[in-house]
């Protein structure tokens, strides 16, 4: 699905609106942006006038003094050394160095702050957006894909408007100042040097784009290589049992060869890039030597030796600003897709949201009514059609039936993770679309099939739904779900995603978490299928307690778990096929009876074989 999403971003020429959008973020800090611009321009100005100061030093101090010295020497006098001029110029050089150092201090600070703050902000917006988006969005988006929006794409994009921007501002500033200064001194030589600029620009952008193209390609192959390693390490048993080690290694060589080729191409163009650009500068410098030299020795000389040296200097540094500008251009191109992915995610609208004037539920009694409800996840594939169902407050309901029959969908609809595509779902007689999501969900207790814990202690996980629970209440909740063991393990770290606990332990904690929240409606989706039999027996005891005094809806793979529910609904192909208590349905000897007997047998067998 990630690839589908990306496709629509591949629009060219979107770089200007992208940059504009990005700049609205940095323009939230106008002071920093101005400070940054001024500092960078200051550096550019000082570096641009460097050759001129150098020229003045040669022309005004060194050359006259040297010729004076020579004259005096020729006349047999002992020449006097006047260091004043030199001293002053050295101070000027030093002062310029100080200005640069100060400006560098300034722009690193401003750029750094802009980057960190904009990154902070974009990440904040992304995360908040992700919390708003509905289940249907998450069904289509892989976690890893979303993760790299927040982690790597934001870095790429913010680097562009901080460090990337330094280069482009410096480059443009340097270029403009140099050209102005050169024309002020000698327009003929200035023209020679300036002519090189467009040539440099075209060449550098052309090559940069080639480098970008190949390095992108290399990056793509690199991730394919990572995937190949990953896959064939995980699938090693298959490879070994099928004796495919050599074949897959051979196939891998094709991939690594592609990687080598594009890596090399990218390095090749990088290698040609600098020498070529510098050579173009040298051509300009050569022309300067020729014409400048002629001018310097003409009678009378039209330029001084210092001017010649200065222009030679300009000719050889002119490629630097061009280089930086082209680097920015390539960087902007390179992060364009990252930026578009970020912005399109920010523009995604949640499918389920609170309607205008939505009211809060009071304390929910627990009547749930499906009125003619139709639902589909995908257009044209109806999962539920015209379902009518009434669940009374305080009832315990079990949903059974084959996978894909629509059990989980019923739960998803009740939780308003999805909204019905047709019909009305009422809770306590009110259409829940007119109510707030928060007031509904904060009164639900949901235990999902695969328990998810957050890193932190056991306790932190249990009080997830009710942060202000007392020690006693926690203990009570644990007792209720048959997880007394945890009473003394509350401070244990569960690890990332609860990795330090076994599946069964995780499920127990998630049970306690749901119970502690004292929900009005309790929902369990195949929650015991990942638990071993002993744990299940424990939970079994607890469930009866949980169901007391609240509406509860349970999907259980193991039917023994739901035997005691008030009503059992057999769901198949989006319809309610049987409805009644365990005994009613067993007597009916219909679908439920078959399911139950077969399962019991299998379970017993398994139990025997597992000991």
């Amino acid at each position: 699905m990630s690839k589908l999403n990306e496709k629509k971003f591949k629009t060219k020429g979107a770089i200007i609106p992208f940059l504009r959008k990005l700049f609205t973020y940095s323009m939230k800090y106008p002071k920093w942006v101005w400070g940054f611009t001024i500092c960078v321009l200051l550096v550019a100005v000082v570096e641009a006038i460097f050759p001129i100061v150098w020229m003045k030093l040669l022309d005004n101090v060194i050359i006259p003094a040297v010729s004076q010295y020579k004259d005096a020497y020729a006349q047999g006098l002992k020449p006097e050394l006047d260091l004043n001029g030199l001293w002053n110029f050295s101070l000027i050089f030093f002062a310029m160095g100080m200005v640069i150092a100060a400006a560098v201090y300034g722009f690193i600070g401003f750029a750094g702050k802009i980057q960190e703050n904009v990154m902070y902000e974009i990440r904040q917006e992304l995360f908040i957006k992700l919390q708003e988006l509905s289940f249907s969005f998450y069904d289509k988006s892989a976690v890893g894909w979303l993760l790299s929006r927040i982690s790597s794409d934001t870095v790429k994009v913010t680097e562009l408007i901080s460090w990337g921007l330094i280069e482009v501002v410096w480059g443009i500033g340097m270029l403009v100042f140099c050209v102005i200064i050169m024309f002020a001194y000698n327009w003929q030589l200035a023209l020679i040097v300036t002519t090189a600029v467009p040539v440099l620009t075209v060449v550098s952008i052309k090559i940069r784009m080639l480098i970008l193209q190949y390095s992108r390609e290399a990056r793509r192959y690199n991730s394919e290589i990572t995937a190949a390693f990953n896959e064939h390490i995980n699938g090693i048993e298959v490879n070994k049992s099928m004796v495919q080690e050599e074949r897959v290694s051979r196939e891998f060589q094709g991939l690594s060869e592609k990687m080598r080729h594009s890596s090399y191409k990218s390095a090749y163009y990088s290698a040609i890039f600098m020498p070529l650009v510098i050579f173009i500068g040298s051509v300009a410098a050569t022309v300067v030597i020729y014409f400048g030299g002629n001018m310097a020795v003409a009678l009378p000389p039209t330029i001084t030796v210092g001017t010649l040296a200065a222009f030679f200097g300009y000719a050889t540094v002119m490629f630097e600003p061009v280089l930086d500008i082209s680097r920015f251009y390539a960087q902007a191109q390179g992060s364009l897709s990252a930026g578009e992915r970020i912005f399109s995610l920010l523009d995604t609208k949640p499918v389920i949201y609170n309607s205008n004037g939505a009211k809060d539920f009071n304390k929910i009694k627990g009547d749930i009514e499906f009125e003619d409800i139709t639902f589909h996840y995908e257009e044209g594939k109806k999962v539920i059609e015209n379902m009518n169902l009434k669940i009374y407050a305080g009832e315990s309901i079990a949903l059974v039936g084959e996978t894909g029959g629509g059990k989980s969908t019923i739960i998803n609809l009740i939780c308003r993770f999805y909204e019905p595509t047709g019909g009305v779902l009422k809770i306590d007689g009110l259409d829940y679309k007119d109510m707030t999501m928060h007031s509904l969900r904060s009164q639900l207790g949901v235990v999902l099939q695969t328990p998810h814990l957050f890193s932190g202690t056991v306790k932190e996980n249990i009080i997830y739904g009710r942060a202000n629970a007392t020690e006693d209440e926690i203990t009570e909740a644990l007792r209720q779900v048959g997880a007394e063991d945890f009473i003394h393990r509350l401070d244990e770290e569960v690890g990332e995603g609860g990795e330090n606990l076994s599946m069964g332990e995780k499920q127990l904690v998630s049970f306690a978490r749901a119970v502690l929240a004292d929900p009005r409606i309790f929902i369990m989706d195949e929650a015991t299928s990942s638990v071993d039999t002993i744990t299940e027996a424990n939970i079994q005891r607890g469930i009866l307690g949980i169901m007391e005094g609240r509406t509860s809806i349970i999907i259980a793979h193991r039917l023994s778990t739901i035997k005691h529910c008030d009503r059992i609904l057999v769901i198949s192909k989006g319809r309610i096929m049987e409805d009644g208590s365990h005994y009613d349905l067993m007597r009916r000897k219909g679908m439920y009876y078959n399911l139950y007997t077969r399962q019991l047998r299998e379970q017993r067998e398994k139990e025997m074989l597992a000991t």
Partner: protein
């Protein structure tokens, strides 16, 4: 240091190219050193010569100038233009060669590095494929993947960037210093006065920066893991309506990351301007000193001009080198880690019996002992002995941990038994080459693993060029053909894992079954391979398999007694030993473990009947009270039905 030298081993036969690249780089840098010299000649000699109407004759005063003089025309007044053109051309030629050498050098070092890296990757990949399974049980997959990708990348950067850059910068430094020393040694020394400060300051800084950077990365990683945890648990978050809480959690970490980012920036903000300061101080001092020498006629104006260029060249590189050095630190670790993988011994595949006729499948385990860990006192196979005859259909039954899957692993020679012998067709299993042996076995593993390619390629894994017809044939037997055609968008061309295409456990198992069947093995092994398939489908599969397995030795590990009743013989294992063996009827008669399991069926029926009759009374009462409430609902139900 020793590990750094291993880079030459990694560079393999391309190391000569690499060394050539280094030499070319040095030549290119030397060329660079000539450029200021040309300007010096222009200023000192040419301009002075022509301005003084040829009165001042020019002598070359150092070796480099002498060299350049050789290419110049005669010093005559009317030669001004020619002189300048010559100088221009020399400059251009020098610059051209400098560029050319630099280009060839970079291209050469890149090509040798990339070739060596390709070889390294290939070697790693095939080496890893050949490592014994034992190695995998000890090394986490993620780490292994990280070694093969991240560490290779570190080495690549080291070879293609770091070494080259350090060499270049050092050469520039030495070259510029030498050129200065040629003009005036005192001046040269003054011009590098602050270089140690800049260099060691940099080393010091990057050591400190590294620490802060790692802290910063830690925060970054933490932030990422918060997001990851949130996203993978988003359903829980929504179910508990805890979005706000999650946002707060994220915000506080996001802030902390920002703080560390700013801290890191603060460090750079001190370092770069200070090093700028020293660089500029150094340059100002060089200018002053140079000016002084020029004024006191120790050096010429041209030399001063050249000097200034060299002085700049000498200072800037020293800013870059410390950063490179700190980045290079990772390389030796990376190299060591990769060698620890490469030095692990590969599995030995050879064996006396290596091809030829069909394996019939007379298998015998004689007193086989085995454990995965030599320090574990508990044996997984604890003197297991049994016999399987050719063409028999055998079922292995037993509690978890009784050694069923281990038997399969030993048969495939993934591991060797510690004691006892295993023979196939009367020959010790050690005599078979592993390649041959595994070719003849067809195993469907307990955990179905699919590769992220098309379904067709998954099924035709052993022979990618298999015709689709044959693929469909096996898919039909595995009862997955219809599902592939109906459910998956691109049928057999559907790529597993792409665009949210996921297969249920049962579907995966059936695809892997089809994969094994297509191999047409002599001995078929099904390791609990239909556990996630529902009973009806399992029955269908068995029916379809019957024709295929008739003349093949088949070993089935199962947990449902119903699915193995028709096997020729059932071997019951417990704690690594065979406790019972025989046909279904024999085992029932034996009244042992097997019988107990079998009896469940009967006992359940009785149980349910008891339960129903017992509860009839109670449930009737309970339901009457509710019936009034339920009336409207029942009415609606009728309509639906």
């Amino acid at each position: 240091m020793k590990s750094f030298l291993k880079i030459f081993e990694i560079l393999d036969k391309w190391k000569y190219h690499y060394i050539t690249a280094a030499v070319l780089l040095l030549i290119s840098v030397s060329m660079r050193m000539l450029e200021p010299k040309i300007l010096q000649i222009v200023v000192d000699k040419v301009i002075v010569f022509f301005l003084s109407d040829g009165k001042t004759r020019m002598v070359a005063d150092d070796a480099v100038s002498k060299l350049i003089y050789n290419f110049l025309p005669e010093w005559k007044l009317e030669n001004l233009s020619i002189m300048l053109i010559y100088l221009g051309v020399i400059f251009l030629v020098v610059s051209l060669f400098r560029g050319l050498f630099s280009f060839v050098s970079s291209a050469l070092s890149a090509s040798s590095t990339e070739k060596a890296m390709k070889k390294l990757r290939d070697k790693l990949f095939s080496h890893i494929q050949q490592l014994p399974l034992e190695y995998y049980s000890k090394t986490p997959t993620g780490e292994l993947v990280q070694r093969c990708t991240g560490d290779v990348e570190t080495i690549r950067k080291f070879s293609s960037m770091h070494v080259v850059e350090v060499l270049r910068l050092t050469a520039v430094f030495i070259g510029a210093f030498t050129m200065m020393a040629l003009i005036n040694i005192n001046y040269a020394l003054i011009a590098v006065m602050f270089v140690p400060v800049i260099f060691f300051g940099g080393i010091f800084f990057f050591r400190k920066e590294g620490k802060i950077w790692r802290e910063h990365e830690k925060r970054q990683d933490k932030l990422t893991s918060i997001v990851q945890e949130n996203l993978s648990g988003i359903r829980v978050v929504k179910a508990f309506a805890k979005e706000q809480y999650e946002i707060e959690k994220f915000t506080s970490m996001n802030k902390e990351k920002k703080e560390w980012g700013l801290k890191l920036m603060g460090l750079h903000r001190i370092f770069w301007p200070s090093s700028d300061f020293f660089v500029h101080l150094q340059i100002a001092i060089s200018i002053f000193a140079g000016g002084y020498f020029a004024l006191s006629n120790t050096i010429t104006v041209g030399e001063f001009v050249a000097f200034y260029s060299y002085a700049t060249l000498v200072t800037w590189p020293m800013r870059r080198v410390p950063q490179l050095i700190s980045e290079m630190g990772m390389t030796s670790v990376a190299i060591d880690r990769l060698y620890s993988i490469l030095d692990t011994e590969e599995e030995k595949y050879e064996g006396k019996i290596n091809g030829g006729k069909k394996i019939l499948g007379n298998i015998e385990f004689k007193d086989v002992y085995f454990r995965y860990d030599k320090n574990d006192p508990h044996y997984v196979l604890n003197g297991a002995s049994f016999k399987i005859n050719a063409c028999e259909n055998i079922a292995l039954l037993g509690p978890t941990g009784s050694g069923k899957s281990t038997i399969i692993s030993l048969l495939l020679r993934f591991y060797e038994p510690e004691n006892g012998t295993i023979t196939i067709d009367g020959k010790n299993i050690n005599e078979y080459s592993k390649t041959y042996l595994r070719h003849k076995f067809g195993v469907v593993l307990q955990k179905p693993f699919l590769f992220s390619t098309t379904l067709k390629d998954n099924i035709a894994y052993v022979q990618p060029d298999t015709e689709l017809d044959e693929v469909i044939e096996s898919a039909k037997v595995a009862n997955i053909h219809r599902i592939i055609e109906e459910i998956f968008p691109k049928s057999y061309e559907t790529v597993v894992g792409e665009k949210g295409v996921t297969l249920s456990g049962g579907q995966k198992q059936r695809v892997t079954l089809a994969r094994t069947l297509l191999k047409n093995p002599d001995i078929l092994v099904l390791d609990d391979s239909t556990s996630s398939v529902d009973s009806e489908t399992e029955f269908e599969i068995q029916k379809a398999l019957r024709g295929i397995i008739e003349d093949k030795t088949t070993i089935v590990i199962a947990h449902r007694i119903t699915s193995i009743q028709d096997c020729d013989r059932i071997i019951v294992l417990d704690k690594g030993k065979v406790i019972e063996s025989g046909t279904h009827e024999e085992l029932i008669a034996n009244n042992g473990f097997y019988k107990k399991i079998y009896d469940i069926q009967v006992s359940i029926e009785d149980e349910i009947n008891d339960e129903l009759s017992e509860n009839r009374e109670a449930s009737n009462v309970k339901h009457e009270t509710r019936d009034s409430k339920r009336q409207p609902l029942n009415g609606k139900h009728e309509k639906i039905k």
